[in-house]
Amino acid sequence: MSQQQTVLYDAPGPRAHRITLIVSLFAVVGIAAVGYFLVYRPLDENGQLTMEKWGPLVDPNNEVFPLVWARLRDGFIATLTAAGLAILSSLIFGTALAVLRVQLKTLKQRRFVGLPDPAAWALRGLGWLLNAVTRFCVEIFRGLPVVITIFFVASALPDLGVDLGDILWYLVIGLTIYNGVVIAEILRSGMEGLPGGQREAAHAIGFSSFQTTRMILLPQAFRIMLPALISQLIVVLKDTSLGFIISYEEVLRVSRYIIDNLENPIQVYAVVGAIYILINYLLSKLAEYAQRRMARGRKTRALPTQAAPPSIMPQAGPGGASVGVGADAGSTT
C-alpha cells in the first residue's frame, strides 16, 4: 500500500515518514487498547470466551460439534438454495422488465403515421398508459423495504388462494420482486447509456425495435453493468437472511435453534457472520475481477458508463467505484 502513489499528498520525505510512523504506532496501540479494554475484558468477565461456549463450534472433539456443523451446513445450503433461485428468477424477471420498459419507451415515441388518426391516438394512449403503469410499479417496489415485501408476500398470497407449499417460494418471490426491479433499472440505464449510434446502426441494417434491444443493446448493457449486477447478487445473498421473518430455515434461523440448545448466541453469530463475510467478500472480488477484465477488454472506445475520469485514488479501478456504489446503494441489507 505504502508504495502506491496518490495525488492527495506528496511522496513522504524523511520527516513525513517519521510522523507517519509515530501516528501509525499510536493508532496501533490505541486500537489494541480499545480492543482489550472495551471488547476483550468485558467479554472475558461475562464468561463469553470460555470453551463451554466456543467448544461446540471450534473443537472437533466436542460431542455436539458434528451435530452443530451439520445443522449449520443445512442452514447454509438452504440459504444458498434460496439465494440461487432468487438470483436466477430476479435476473430473468429483471431482464424481461428492462426489455419491456425500453420497448414501451420506443412505443411511446412512435407516431403511427400510417394509421388513421383515432387509431394512432389510441395506440399512443395505450403506450403511454403501459409506460406509466410499469413506471409506477417499479417506483413502488423499489421504494418498499424488502422485509415488508417478503412478509406480505408470505401472508397475502395464501390469503388470495395461492398456495405454494414450501416457504422457500414465498421468500424467492419476495426477493425477486424487489431485486428484479432493481436489476431491471440497472439494465435499463445500461441500455439507455449506450451511444445512440448503436441503435441507429441496428435500424439501418433493418433490425426491428425488439431485435435491436435483444441483439444489440441488451448484450452490451449486460457487459457494462456486470459489476453492478454482481453487487446486486451479493445483496440478494445477504437479503436471504430475512427469511427468518417468515420462518424459512436458512442459516440464521438454524443458528437460533442451536442457540436455544446451547445458549451461546454471540459465538454462533460470530461464526456465521464470519462465513457470510467470507462468501460475500469472494463474490465482491469476483465483481472487481470482472470489472478489471472489462476495462482491459475494450480499449477501442470508451463507453459512457466506463468513461469515468481518471481517479484520485489509484487503488480503485477506473470508474469502478461509481458503478459499484450505484448498485450497492440500491441495496437493502
Binding site: M1, S2, T6, V7, L8, Y9, D10, T20, V23, S24, V28, I31, P42, L43, N46, Q48, E139, I140, R142, G143, L144, P145, V146, V147, I148, F151, F152, S155, D159, K238, S241, L242, F244, L252, P265, I266, Y269, G273, Y276, I277, I279, N280, Y281, S284, A308, P309, P310, S311, I312, M313, A316, A321, S322, V325, G326, A329, G330, S331, T332, T333
Partner: protein, 236 residues
C-alpha cells in the same frame, strides 16, 4: 380498508417512530461514513487498514447479523448504549432517552451498517474529482487536510450526493428490521401486530405500511432523479 381509519393513530405513530429512527441513523451514518472515508484515503497505513476492514466487514455481512450484535453483543460488553442519551437530543427524540435501550441499539445498528455504504459513496465522489485538482492544490503547498477540506471534498460532495441519497433511501428501507429487534411501535412492528395479534386483514395493512415508507422514499428518489438530470443537462 376500515383498518386504515380505525387504526390511523397506529400508522401515524409507527411512521413517526420510523422517521425519528431514520433521521438519527442518517446523521450517525453520514458522520461515521465520512470519517471512515477519510481514514481510507489517509496517509497513515494503519488507519487505511482500519477503514478498509470496516467497509469489508459491514458491506459483506447481512444487516440481520449486524443488528443482532448491536442488540445482544453490546449488552455482553456491558453497554446499554447510554452514550446516546444526549440530554437535549433525547427530549426531541423521546425514545432515545428511555430506559429500554432497543431504540438506541437500532440507531447504532443502522448507523454502523449504513456508514460502510456512505464511505463508498463518498469515495466514489472523490474518485470523480479530476486528479489535476488535487495536484494543483499540492503544488500550491496545501497539506493533506487542507487539500481535502478546501479542494477535494467540496467537489467530491457534488458527485457524491446522488449515491449518498440512494444509500439513505436504502437505509430507510432497512429500518423496517427494527420492529423485529425489540423496537415496539415502529411501522413494520405495527404491521405485524395488526395482522397477527389483532387479526386485521392483510392487504389494507400492507397498503397503510407501504404508504408510510413510500412517503419517505419516493420523494427522495424523485429529488435524486431531478438532481441527476440537471447534472446531465449541465454537463452537456
Amino acid at each position: 380498508m376500515s383498518v386504515l381509519v380505525d387504526h390511523f393513530d397506529v400508522f401515524v405513530g409507527g411512521f413517526w417512530l420510523t422517521f425519528q429512527l431514520c433521521i438519527l441513523s442518517a446523521v450517525g451514518a453520514l458522520a461515521l461514513g465520512a470519517l471512515v472515508a477519510v481514514m481510507r484515503i489517509s496517509p497513515v497505513p494503519p488507519l487505511r487498514w482500519i477503514g478498509t476492514a470496516y467497509v469489508t466487514v459491514f458491506r459483506n455481512s447481512p444487516l440481520t447479523i449486524v443488528w443482532f450484535f448491536a442488540a445482544f453483543g453490546l449488552p455482553a460488553l456491558d453497554s446499554n448504549a447510554d452514550f446516546l442519551r444526549i440530554p437535549g437530543l433525547s427530549s426531541i427524540f423521546s425514545r432515545l432517552g428511555i430506559d429500554l435501550p432497543y431504540f438506541r441499539f437500532a440507531v447504532i445498528a443502522l448507523s454502523l451498517y449504513t456508514a460502510a455504504f456512505v464511505c463508498e459513496a463518498i469515495r466514489s465522489g472523490i474518485n470523480a474529482v479530476p486528479p489535476g485538482q488535487a495536484e494543483a492544490a499540492r503544488a500550491i503547498g496545501l497539506t493533506f487536510g487542507q487539500n481535502l477540506r478546501y479542494v477535494v471534498l467540496p467537489q467530491a460532495w457534488k458527485s457524491a450526493v446522488v449515491p449518498l441519497g440512494s444509500v439513505i433511501i436504502a437505509m430507510i428501507k432497512n429500518s423496517a428490521l427494527a420492529g423485529f429487534f425489540g423496537v415496539v411501535g415502529e411501522l413494520s412492528n405495527s404491521a405485524q401486530n395488526l395482522t397477527s395479534a389483532l387479526g386485521e386483514p392483510i392487504i389494507p395493512v400492507f397498503v397503510g405500511v407501504s404508504i408510510g415508507y413510500l412517503v419517505m422514499t419516493v420523494p427522495l428518489g424523485i429529488l435524486l432523479d431531478r438532481i441527476e438530470q440537471r447534472r446531465a443537462v449541465a454537463a452537456r
